[in-house]
Each structure stands twice: as structure tokens, then as C-alpha cells.
Symmetry: C2
Subunit: 430 residues, 2 copies
């Protein structure tokens, strides 16, 4: 099989910097060798160049940094057209912007066209894997899976489950969304690199009956994910308390229905009690932190120290369209601000971990992606270290790796992504 070689600066993480601060590799003049879409070797150019086959052409990117593709652990594809909508906090945001936008996905043409734009935009931002919300419509998930399959992306998605609290056109029918979900699991789960997530929007828009159905589906399909929201906004939390008076807290609503396990991703978790942190941790579930969204719709500042203290698994999400950028770099920048405002300095290593290997772990795909370990799937980005005059100037001065990475995450955006590769294939080029 043919061999491909990419020469540039190369960086990737081998473990969580919170466990092992030295668990990363950085090659100032590095070489990444790819065969059959998988990592064949990574290391210094000097050491590896001589191992290349004579026929292998080296793609040399000067002033570029190669790193693993970004992983976005929470995003809504049908919300690309409401990004940057004005003046609402969560519950009103849903009623005034989200639901009207999602109604349009009844039309399969809208599903297909939006999925196409969405996948393109992910790749343009260097995001190679994501956990994605559709709408309630079966066609929305179908269209997204089809588009992701074309690019051969490792992507997990699901149709939303809702049976109350939204316009009629967005509610599941008598069977609570069971049949459509089952069809989608059968059609897409495990097909190529795709995976399914059972996706109740959040407690307020599902009856206990629908949540119970979702729990049964999860029990019947143990390898699928569960993807929902939790503890994003204070009014929401209060509302959940009113809707589920028998539950001890928000998390308990999901626990009661068998929806909290090691394949569960709960978006936000801005306002969590110690008890909730302990139980999320014990169940092996994960929190997707979405800082641009939390600031833009005024939900609050997540508490990373608390999550770390309780060893709660976590990573980053853009939460488009509550979030304001597809760029995981801008999301890392926002995460830094949230932490600074809570008196914690988020290191560049921690942030890049959350956006790559940490995200892969949260989505249960670290066996396949997240770094350049031998044999992993070659999902990676080539970052332009001279993307803007300011970036070029600033990065030139950043002598140490950590300072370089930090400046990248503070100043960088989609412009830094010069090229994106999925399974060794170039799928986006600036």
C-alpha cells in the first residue's frame, strides 16, 4: 500500500497532562508517516526520513504545525443559521430561535443542504470528529450521517427525542421516537466510522415515559452513546425541579431512567453540586464544557476545579448555535477566560488535551483517534503558524512549546487551519 509522509513541526499528547505533565511529544522538525489511512510512524524527520520507501514523496510544510484533528464533544448541526442571534438566555433562546429554526428540518432538502455546509465548516475549522445533535426529524440525522460518511469522518450523532415543551412539529409521535431511533441505529451505528447517540434534548422536553423509552433503547443497544444537556442555566435547573418533583436533582432524572453511564455525554454542567459531580464521576459519564455558549447566552462560568477534584471526565464543545464559533481554538480561548474569571489558569497542555485526546476519550474513540500513536487513524490538521500578521509576529517570539501552544489557542481561529486530513485523506485545504 502507498505511503505518505508529512514534514512539519509535530505535536500530540500521550495522556492527560493532569496525570502526567510530560506525556506529550513535540518534534521541531518532525515527520508523520501514514499508510492505509493509519499512523505508521511519528518522530523526528532526521530519525524517520531514512525509513521511508524510495517512492514516498515528502510533503514539507514550512512554518506549519501538524497535530491531531480537533474533537468537538457537543454541537447542534441544525443551528448553524441561528449563530449570533440576539438577546436571549437558555429557555427563551430555545423558544425564540432554536425551535423555529429546527422546524425547517422537516424538509429533507434543508437537512441535506445544512449537513453539507456543517461538515464542510467542521473540516474548515480542523474538527475531524464530533458528537452532534440533529433535530427531532429522522431525516436530519440521516442527512448528517450520509454527509459524514462521504468524508469518512469518525462522528457520532442522533435524532433528538422530544415529546413536550416544544412546537407540535418538533415532537415525537405516539411511539415516543422509538421506531425512528431504532432505524437510525440499525442503519448507521458502526457503519464505517459512524456511531449513534440516543439524544433526548434535555429533561424539560421529554416526559418520564420518553426518558424511560430512551433508557430501554440504551439497554438494548449498549454500544450506543447517550447525549443530552444538563445544568446549563439556573432557570432551567429550577424548571427541571418543578417538572420532576420526585427527583432529588437534575442528574437524578437521567439516572432514574438508565441514561447515565460511561457512554453518556452531558453538555454544559455549569452549575453542579458536589453530589452530582461524585455521581457523574462514579458512573463514568462525561461533561462537555461549552464556554463560548455559556458566555454568549449568559449561562455562567463552569467550575473546572470542581470537576477535576471529583475526577469528572470532561472535554470541550462548541455548542453551535448557542456557541459562537466552530473553531476549537476559539473555544479553548474562551475556556481560558472562564477559568481565569474563576481564578484558575488553564494551561495550553490541558486545553489542547481537552480538544484532542481528551475529547476522544470522552467520546470513547481514543482507541482510534486523538493522537498519533502507532496504528491510530490518521485524522490530523496542518496549522499555519503565519496565518495572520499578528500570529506570525507573536509565534515567532514564543520560544517554548507551552508558550507557542498558548499563543496559538489565544490568537488562533479557522485561518490557522491550512489543511485537514481524515484517515490520511486531505478533505480541506485553505
Amino acid at each position: 500500500m502507498r505511503q505518505y509522509a508529512y514534514r512539519a513541526q509535530i505535536f500530540h499528547l500521550l495522556d492527560d497532562p493532569q496525570h502526567d505533565a510530560e506525556a506529550f511529544q513535540y518534534f521541531k522538525d518532525g515527520l508523520l508517516i501514514v499508510e492505509d489511512g493509519h499512523v505508521k510512524a511519528v518522530g523526528s524527520f532526521r530519525r524517520l526520513a531514512k525509513t521511508l520507501r524510495a517512492s514516498t514523496k515528502i510533503n514539507h510544510y514550512k512554518n506549519h504545525l501538524i497535530m491531531p484533528g480537533f474533537i468537538d464533544t457537543h454541537i447542534h448541526f441544525p443551528q448553524v443559521d441561528i449563530i449570533g442571534s440576539y438577546g436571549r438566555q437558555l429557555l427563551d433562546w430555545l423558544q425564540d430561535y432554536t425551535f423555529p429554526a429546527e422546524l425547517a428540518f422537516k424538509d429533507s432538502k434543508v437537512c441535506v443542504e445544512t449537513a453539507r455546509f456543517f461538515v464542510k465548516e467542521l473540516l474548515r475549522n480542523g474538527t475531524t470528529s464530533a458528537l452532534v445533535f440533529g433535530t427531532v426529524h429522522e431525516g436530519s440525522a440521516d442527512a448528517l450521517f450520509a454527509e459524514a460518511q462521504k468524508k469518512n469522518m469518525r462522528l457520532i450523532a442522533g435524532k433528538v427525542l422530544m415529546d413536550r415543551g416544544a412546537p407540535k412539529g418538533l415532537l415525537d409521535g405516539k411511539d415516543l421516537g422509538r421506531a425512528a431511533t431504532k432505524r437510525l441505529i440499525k442503519k448507521w451505528h458502526g457503519r464505517g466510522r459512524l456511531g449513534y447517540a440516543i439524544t433526548p434534548r434535555f429533561a424539560p422536553t421529554s416526559t418520564p415515559e420518553q426518558l424511560a423509552m430512551a433508557g430501554v433503547l440504551k439497554a438494548e443497544n449498549p454500544s450506543v452513546h447517550v447525549h443530552t444537556h444538563m445544568c446549563e442555566n439556573k432557570d432551567e435547573i429550577k424548571y427541571v425541579g418543578e417538572l420532576f418533583p420526585d427527583s432529588t436533582d437534575y442528574l437524578d432524572v437521567y439516572e432514574k431512567h438508565g441514561l447515565v453511564g460511561d457512554k453518556t455525554v452531558l453538555a454544559h454542567g455549569v452549575h453542579m453540586s458536589a453530589s452530582m459531580c461524585k455521581r457523574v464521576s462514579a458512573n463514568g459519564a462525561a461533561i462537555s464544557l461549552c464556554p463560548t455558549s455559556n458566555m454568549f447566552i449568559g449561562s455562567g462560568l463552569f467550575n473546572l476545579s470542581q470537576l477535576r477534584r471529583h475526577k469528572v471526565r470532561h472535554a470541550l464543545g462548541t455548542d453551535i448555535g448557542g456557541g459562537t464559533s466552530f473553531s476549537m481554538l476559539m473555544t479553548m480561548n474562551a475556556a481560558y477566560s472562564v477559568c481565569q474569571l474563576r481564578d484558575l489558569s488553564l494551561s495550553s497542555m490541558d486545553a489542547f488535551y481537552m480538544a484532542t485526546l481528551g475529547g476522544a476519550k470522552v467520546l470513547g474513540m481514543d482507541k482510534y483517534v486523538g493522537n498519533f500513536e502507532l496504528g491510530k487513524e490518521a485524522d490530523f490538521v496542518v496549522m499555519d503558524l503565519k496565518a495572520t500578521p499578528l500570529i506570525a509576529r507573536r509565534l515567532k517570539i514564543a520560544k517554548r512549546l507551552k508558550a507557542l501552544l498558548f499563543a496559538i489557542m489565544i490568537l488562533g481561529d479557522d485561518r490557522m487551519i491550512a489543511e485537514t486530513f481524515v484517515m490520511g485523506r486531505s478533505v480541506y485545504k485553505k
Copy 2:
């Protein structure tokens, strides 16, 4: 004299939207006519085209929006190389990053080279006027003024005054910086479009003697500005209390020395008491709000409702290098987040006002710039409404002006600036 005409969408504000929500003009197909660097007319293309001289060529920008150049009311030019430095809050930030960087400006070559980059970067971001900190070195202000003069910018700056609390190389000598400040005022204040600001860094780095000297200089030169910092960070405020035990609060330190009047700009004002707001308002001083900086170095969330309640004049600043972007669009985005986190929705009209006419008022230059009133100096930007695939898609859907402007300020950055004009002359083109 020659006449120039620019056809595009055109938007500008005529007054503070808080006073008059309808005080703006928007021409979907507009024409801006410039003669001798000044606004000759603005209006609909249909109405104005026939008034043009036969010899006037029309510059037609399709899918572009022309608006007044942005005004940055607080920025440090010698800090371009420490943007995105890691892990400090204000007082440590100064010691660990700012002071070491500013020491280099002893060298006039560094001053000249940095000033050149800085001015270019302002214009690349569509910022046509600014209030700028230099370093303590006379040469820093000199270099910046010289560079701004080359571009004929309306810009106010000053050398920093410091005589304690910083490395020796950054402290004024025996005369407390008086002679250098006087020379700079004489050389640059009122020259072309330039103005001088007496610039004590902040209370902790000036002795009462230096502040008194600054007050005397201000009294001797009533038309110059005063530019300093106040109430940015809680530790800083506590420290000022310790250094000035005889002052009732931080503002009082400046008031005592005659430094608070209608030409005073106090950067930040994140943590202010009601009394301070009342006095700033009564004195006619202004606050420069710097949201990207306040979040990045964890200073806190400014309280816009309180400022409005007390009718405190205010506008926006990037506060490079504590701030993370030269773009006033990104600064408006961050201001929206700060307000959302305090349960206030900042409208696009209010944000664009703060970044244009409001900024001009804060800097006392609204007679000359800030909007397209007849006879004003023609400082303007041409914004590309298709700057990125996401912006192109999102703006196409924003049917109403306010939604369009809001999406621009949330999704926009330097890429949206297609061209920048100063006094009718193109000084930057993408």
C-alpha cells in the same frame, strides 16, 4: 478639489441609542461622497448619484457595508508582543510580562519598528482612532506619533509616567517625567490630527509627588487628555488602598491631584462603587471598558447597568496586550458576553455606538469623527459581508438591520475589514 464616491450599504449612528433609539441612518444602497478628506454627503445612491460631478468615478462595493472607522479608547502599543501570555492576573501580569517587554523600548529602533507594526495592525482591523499608552521612554511616544502622522490618523497618545513599583529602567528620573512630557506635548499636541494624553500608568506606580506633577501639567495644558487605569482588579484596588491610606477610594487618588475631568479616560472601571460612578459622572470623565482583557486576565465582569444608571460616559477599548484582539468587532462580541453574564443584553446599536461615535465622544473628537455627518473627516471602513463562508451564510439570513449588525459583531473579525480609509485616503486594503 477632487471628489470621491463610494457605493455600498452604509450605516452610521447620529446619537447614543440610549437617548434616541432611532438616531441612526442605514442605506441599503448608499453613497458616501468625500471631498478634500471630508464627508460631503451621505445618503441613498438613488438620491445622491445625480449630484455627482461628471468626472467623479464611483467605487462600487457589492456585498459590503461602509461604516465609520472604529475607535479604540484604550490600548498599549508596546504590548503587541505579549498578547496571549499565560497564567497571570493584573499585578503579576505587569511584573512578569509587561515590564520586561516595556524595558526594550529604551531602544529607539524597537520603538519605531513596533509603532509601525502597531499602526498597520490598527488599520488592518479598521481602527482609525485610538487612545494609546506608550512606555516610560520619550522615544516610544515619539515613534508612535511619527507613525500615526504618516497615516494622518486622529490619534491620542502619551509616554507613561512611573516613578515606583517597576524596574529601574522603567522609572522616570528626578524631574518625575515632567520635561519629557512637556517636550512631547509641545512637539505633537495639536500637530495634524494628533493629541497628547498625560499618562500615569496607575496609582500604584506613581508617588503622590508624580501624580501632583501630572496634575500641574494638566492644569498648564488644559486641552490635553489624561489617560490612566482604575479599578481593574480586586487585588489592585486593595493595594491602592494600602498605598494611599489618606484617600477615600481609588478615584479619590486621581481627584486629589486634579486628574479627573472631562478629558480624562479611566481604563476598566470593573469594580466601582456607586459613589465613584457618581463622581466620575459629575466630573465628566469617561470609562474605557475592555472586555477581552477583563476576561483574559480574569479581572471581572464590568457593570454596564450601573454605569448607565449613573450616566457615566463610556466606550470600548481592546487593551492590547491584556486584551486578546485588535478587532473592535471581537471586543464588541466580548462586551456582549460580559453583559449577558450580568443579565443585560447589549444591543448591536449600543455596541456599534460604543465602538464609533461613543468612542469619539469619550475621546473628545466627535466634532471630527465618529459618524458621517456633513463636514466630518472621512475615516471609514468597508466591511466584507462575505468574509468567511459562515459569515456569508449567516448574514444572508439576517433580514433586519439590527440582526445584521449583531451577527457582524458576533461573527466578525479583522477579515471583515476589506478596506480602511483615513481622511478619505485608502490606508489598508485586504
